[in-house]
């Protein structure tokens, strides 16, 4: 016999063979004329640049530690109009102010620890999350349990997440104590019926269930359902509302707030989604996604997404994508001056209005499984460049450019 019998010492494949680093960057720009900060009428011009680093480290054969850190910096014309009076020019909701509220930075860190069983049929993970903005602080934690069955053809996953968030409430300048300006015009005296929110906490609890199934050699699908409960301050404190049954007051062309939005202090959300992927041939894969969403604020939405990755060569993939989204309005949404001061809840945030949206995207991926290009001690595995244009029926337009790279440690 030329072959010796294999002994009991078998090689155990690691869950993650080597450390990996994702470097991600995005540039986002939007514009529209329905800013919530100025009561549903005003510029929505906003620019955001975000960068993230995701580091995945194998701790041993079974355990992986992932650390996700990021920084997001934005400048926003609408949030600059929390105080439109610090610009020094003619005051109007359609121009940005130059004050401090026009920009902000969000920083976050999210570590995740994942353990896989010996047979790789059970995976559990635990994660934490901390983020900070000028007017918002968030701390969260969660866990996930996954079980694979049926020769790894079936996967069932259960997860839970808790976010304990805190506002540092910022109100429109004219509603702050001691506000006075001798340029105010209107009938009578400007005395809005406004009181500050007494609670600034926002808690979110979510339970997630997912089920995935291989349906054939070329097709697999998954179903997802979340149950999300939120309570606390769900209104955004600096978003103005103008009533239809009160006098109007102005400084130049800028209308002073009658109040800020008031939304219920609880919300139940139930999104239900599904993915279906089909390997057509070595040249084309079909990736599809659909989501039905319902919440107890009166919003129902549908999301459909289709992506067609074309494998041009072994290294290059081109993936055009189209996404359609439609939603009904929240029960508490009113256009400018349509709400009444006697109502309990009201907002003029067009993100909660009825609209539909189309998104067209195109991405290109470069992949080198041999990681032949090196940076320090890491080999380049993939580069993803993606552009998407987003057009909403209420006039909001946006685009986002994303660059993602993955490096593998040697």
């Amino acid at each position: 016999m030329g072959w010796s019998q294999q002994d009991n010492t078998s090689y155990k494949r690691r869950v993650l063979e080597a450390s990996e680093v994702d470097l991600l960057f995005s540039y986002y720009n939007q514009d529209g004329n329905h800013a919530a900060v100025t009561g549903g009428e005003g510029t929505e011009d906003l620019t955001d640049a975000t960068s993230s680093i995701v580091l995945r480290m194998p701790l041993n054969e079974d355990d992986v530690l992932t650390v996700d850190v990021g920084l997001s910096a934005y400048t926003s014309a609408s949030s600059s109009n929390v105080n439109p009076l610090d610009g020094g020019l003619n005051v109007t909701p359609f121009d940005a102010s130059s004050g401090e509220s026009r920009k902000d930075i969000l920083a976050y860190v999210k570590p995740t620890y994942q353990h896989s069983s010996e047979d790789r049929n059970t995976i559990w993970s635990a994660n934490a999350y901390v983020s900070s903005e000028y007017d918002y602080f968030s701390i969260g934690f969660g866990g996930n349990y996954t079980r694979l069955f049926n020769e790894k053809n079936t996967e069932l996953s259960l997860g839970g997440t808790v976010f304990l968030d805190k506002w540092n409430a910022i109100y429109p300048i004219e509603l702050r104590p001691g506000f006075f300006d001798d340029r105010i015009t209107g009938n009578g005296a400007y005395m809005p019926n406004f009181t500050e929110f007494d609670k600034e906490n926002r808690n979110s609890y979510s339970l997630s269930l997912s089920f995935s199934q291989i349906l054939g050699k070329r097709v697999q699908g998954a179903l997802f359902v979340d149950l999300v409960s939120q309570n606390g301050l769900l209104s955004t404190p600096f978003q103005r509302v103008y009533f239809g049954d009160t006098e109007d007051f102005f400084i130049d062309d800028f209308q002073l707030a009658d109040d800020v939005e008031h939304l219920p202090d609880s919300r139940l959300k139930v999104p239900f989604g599904g993915r279906l992927n089909y390997y057509v041939n070595d040249f084309l894969v079909l990736r599809s996604y659909y989501r039905l969403y319902w919440d107890d604020w009166g919003i129902t939405s549908h999301t459909a997404n289709l992506e067609l990755p074309f494998k041009l060569t072994d290294k290059f993939t081109l993936y055009p994508a189209y996404r359609y989204y439609t939603q009904t309005a929240a029960d508490y949404f009113y256009p400018k001056e349509a709400a009444l001061s006697t109502s309990e809840f009201y907002t003029s945030d067009y993100d909660l209005s009825k609209y539909d949206a189309h998104q067209y995207g195109l991405g290109v991926q470069y992949k080198d499984i041999f990681t032949s290009a090196k940076v320090l001690n890491f080999g380049l595995k993939t580069i993803d460049l993606r552009f998407s244009q987003y057009d909403r029926s209420d006039g909001l337009n946006a685009f986002i450019l994303t660059l993602g790279t993955t490096f593998v440690g040697n």
Binding site: S26, Q30, D48, T50, V54, Y108, Y136, S138, E151, K152, N153, T161, F163, W167, S204, S206, I214, L215, K217, R218, Q220, G221, A222, L223, F224, V225, D226, V228, K269, P271, F272, G273, G274, R275, N277, Y279, V285, R287, Y289, R291, L292, Y293, I299, S301, K311, T317, Y325, Q327, D351, L352, G361, D384, R386, Y390, R392, A398, I400, T402, L403, G404
Partner: protein, 69 residues
């Protein structure tokens, strides 16, 4: 609502009659076949969470962690 239920039934029925062995998973294991969003899609998911009233059921955040919905 009928379509998601039909989809569930198709999945359950299919799972009882198809078992794809490890050596037959060359297509299923293709990177493009992953049943999750691409890593670089996370930023798009973030702006959807900000700009749209709905979120969740896609691996992204379902609420909390930012001043959005």
């Amino acid at each position: 609502m009928a379509k998601p239920i039909l989809f569930v039934l198709i999945l359950i029925c299919s799972s009882s009659c198809v078992v794809v062995r490890e050596y037959d998973k060359a297509y299923i294991n293709d990177a493009e076949m992953q049943l999750s969003a691409r890593p670089c899609e996370r930023f798009e998911t973030n702006f959807h969470i900000y700009r749209e009233a709905s979120s969740g059921a896609n691996g992204g955040k379902t609420g909390g962690g930012c001043g959005c919905n």
